[in-house]
């Protein structure tokens, strides 16, 4: 598990802007989290890169596995090669901001270009491999698989971060109950006594942890978005946009 301070974690050095809307602990200022970190020099840049790799490595691998470019290499190597190639460029995130695209769409566009570069490089290195034709640029199957994998990766990372956050705030038991009910689908009445609370108390504790998870997830969506509402982003993801 990563230990870096994410915007979704309320560490001692972090301050929340005043008068934030109740229930949405990630106001518009958090949309510039990436911009803010990028202004913090190498350390900030590293933090942004780690965030991108944590959330997007898995969906990019899934995307790659669905394309006809699988011959280019092992998914792990190809994706890490992409990160090494693009995330080191200072203009990468500035260009993303200018594009107005969601970060995941920007990354996948960049990944497609990267695959094209790899194909050309392989062809140059192996000129007699005429069977390696360029695949179609737009393949809906892999894109859909990417979006599904992105949801899995996003939720998994939000769970990990909210787990860390709950532990830091002494809410480990709350998070455990949240997981038992919302992740494992257990009824409160089936396990509450094992944890030393009654079912009603367990429901209240789960709500506390759920609020942390919700805020974490929304924060992650906001920091990768284009300033649009997190609810709209979630709806779009659920509808497979």
């Amino acid at each position: 598990m990563t230990t870096q301070q994410h915007p979704t974690q309320t560490g001692p050095s972090q301050q929340r802007p005043p008068q934030q809307r109740q229930g949405d602990v990630f106001p518009a200022t958090m949309n510039s989290w990436i911009d803010g970190r990028l202004q913090d020099g190498a350390a900030g840049r590293q933090e942004v890169n780690r965030h991108v790799m944590d959330v997007y490595a898995f969906p990019l691998k899934v995307y790659f596995m669905g394309t006809r470019d699988r011959w280019l290499g092992e998914p792990e190597d190809v994706v890490q090669g992409f990160f090494a190639s693009r995330l080191s460029k200072t203009e990468f995130f500035h260009n993303w901001r200018s594009s107005g695209l969601r970060l995941r769409h920007w990354l996948i566009n960049g990944f497609c270009f990267y695959l094209k570069e790899l194909r050309r490089a392989k062809k140059r290195a192996l000129p007699n491999t005429s069977s390696y034709s360029d695949p179609e640029d737009e393949e809906p199957g892999p894109r859909q698989a990417f979006d599904r994998a992105y949801v899995v990766s996003l939720v998994r990372e939000a769970l990990k971060r909210s787990q860390t956050l709950c532990e830091l705030e002494g809410l480990g038991a709350h998070f455990e109950i949240f997981i038992r009910h919302f992740y494992q689908g257990q009824a409160y009445g089936d396990f509450a006594k094992d944890l030393g609370v009654d079912a009603a108390r367990a429901a209240v504790m789960a709500r506390t942890a759920r609020t942390k998870f919700q805020a974490t997830l929304r924060g992650m969506i906001n920091q990768d978005g284009t300033g649009s509402d997190a609810d709209e982003e979630i709806q779009a993801l659920l509808e497979g946009d």
Partner: protein
Amino acid sequence: MSSPMTSFPGRDFSDIGDEQARKLLRLGMLKTFRPVDALIERLKATDGQEWFRKVTLAAPFTTILGRGDGLITGRVMLAQLTALKEAGKRQARELDRNMRLIARAAYDLSIAAAIVHYGQVITTQSRTELLDVLSDLAEALPEPWAKLVVDATEKLATMRDGE
């Protein structure tokens, strides 16, 4: 709290599947305005408690139960509670806002009373959704109605889906 455990081993959630992730993603959405929120807003207004006193003396409470306090005492049949809930649903289509708010109160209180007095969930809403609605409503209601709804949430929390 007398929890025997305060810390749990960290997980990496590597076993999460597509559907599970989509279900959890939905939790990220802030509550859209639910029908019960209008009732809660009315109850929390400065004259909310005064307004609520007249609610149980109006239709559909009076037409179905005669006296609304049967919901508290338990002197009410399960069939009456179901009828009250259905009458609430019908009345919720009225143009008059006050009528719609009373209808919503009838709907939620009949569900709460059925859970408390009969251990029956007379709605198809999910347990989680219903727990949220009733928990929020309990905070806005005056006594003894708040207790009725809190009792319902406590009982509901012990029930499994389908009970």
